[in-house]
Symmetry: C2
Subunit: 331 residues, 2 copies
Amino acid sequence: MRRFLASVLGALAMTTTVHAQEPAPEVAIVIHGGAGTILPEEMSPAREAGFREKLTEALRAGHARLEDGADALDAVVAAILILEDSPLFNAGKGAVFASDGANELDAAIMDGRSLSAGAVSGVRHVANPIELARLVMEHSPHVMLYGEGAEEFALSRGISLVPQSYFFTRHRWEELEKARDEELQQRKSTVPQSGTVGAVALDARGNLAAGTSTGGTTNKRLGRIGDSPIIGAGTYADNASCAVSGTGHGEYFIRSVVAHDIASLMRYQGLTVEEAAEKVVLEKLVERKGEGGVIALDADGNIAMPFNTPGMYRGYIDKAGQLAVKIYADE
Amino acid sequence: MRRFLASVLGALAMTTTVHAQEPAPEVAIVIHGGAGTILPEEMSPAREAGFREKLTEALRAGHARLEDGADALDAVVAAILILEDSPLFNAGKGAVFASDGANELDAAIMDGRSLSAGAVSGVRHVANPIELARLVMEHSPHVMLYGEGAEEFALSRGISLVPQSYFFTRHRWEELEKARDEELQQRKSTVPQSGTVGAVALDARGNLAAGTSTGGTTNKRLGRIGDSPIIGAGTYADNASCAVSGTGHGEYFIRSVVAHDIASLMRYQGLTVEEAAEKVVLEKLVERKGEGGVIALDADGNIAMPFNTPGMYRGYIDKAGQLAVKIYADE
């Protein structure tokens, strides 16, 4: 509210003194497409270009909504929809396979203005779980719905269910076969778990929002709920601190309440968003051997994207309109 | 560890200088049986006595484990098992009915020493979900399992499933009928939601643990996940701050990340456990119209039990061995 008033007053001051055009709205968006063992030597140039292109498309889609004056929530959904619809990421279309050979998807969204939130977990027939999470937030008395109940709610809101075959991709199926094989041989899985997607946005009214969507982990046990749909763990937004979306080894993110811990360090210790996100991801999670990363954005448009893995698909369009898309640690 | 060393050194000093007996271990346990509209005028003396008796029994069971040198986790489980087995509380045997007439139970447990955690949600055939949550913590690669997957895991760990009829109580069935009737008439439900149970404990080695178990809310939608099984929302423990178990309108507890917020206020702002718990329950939750309460315990044995409802079933045995059991606000 203070920010809103300040920007109204600022705009008034400009128009009365210099008759300037209305300044471009101070908006920003940050996205991720998962953290993990992403190495240049294991990536073909074409595949790498595909990732960069899709991340750019998602950023532009979200940013366009913000420039049109839409809510941060709209931008988060617009960006994530594009990543969910791409087979490249472990969310929506490209979701990994659980141990029983099914795809079970999770998503959450949170509004930093009202602290409203919606989350779904274990859905098997919803192409765009982020959309369903938003419907839960806006039209359900509950915050979090699982599986069949979430799909029942989806139907009641006019969402068409898709067959499981919609989520089939050969790449993910081979990952499951490899993970099962490794499990049979009692070896630690080497299947990379990257690919969760997320977005955080700041709209022209100073409101923050965060969203995350995932297929979970390859070969996960039936009914496993990861951090992505858990408010405070993988997803959190509060205008008073920041918006956060996480990606990584979900169990560690749950136990460390990662997203809310970042917000708390800002709110209660006065850390900047960069300091808070780095402290949690590069210190606390590392001590606890929790692999992953986060994207975080504060109400002034400051951006943090720390990760403790070799790579994280990520990008932003900042308040100055500057676009960046990155994959590896040294970018 | 520091506490442990200090108490070992303290014990050594005592034995060498005054040949005193080993001091009684400094242990404590706090429990709740739900917050809500609990009024003396709506309670028969016999029913009230029943609640007080069962709370006392649970406290003594947990405390006895602590005196025997058991882990805080053991005490939490011992206390909650007694409350789950009683038809008086909305957990285990006395669980409320969901909208489809089934009982869907949730529970979580967390170890403040290791930050390990286990949670189950939506289980329909497990008499003691707190026991299953502990097995998830100790024997699953995952932190949180839902429904069928959680029951599959239960079977794999040798837990016998019970039929849904185990959870039938006339009292809870009538609550569902009343809630359905009120919904048909589009009236706000007046069915009290109290009865979630929880425990927090401090063992002789200075370790904290927290656990929560619930049947959720009467007439809840299929697949609804409340705050109890969500680490950071309804359940949290960290030796560095406190152990917390919550009870109330779960959706508000999720959005406010209640348990972790209390821990963060202690850790990052230096508040005492009483100050932190009261700030969250009596200020922040009240502003957001989130009804409920928490029990909280720090590593020095300080206890907080704030609630913003007319009553909360609660009690403790503190470090001095003092036992108290309370129901109404003015006790």
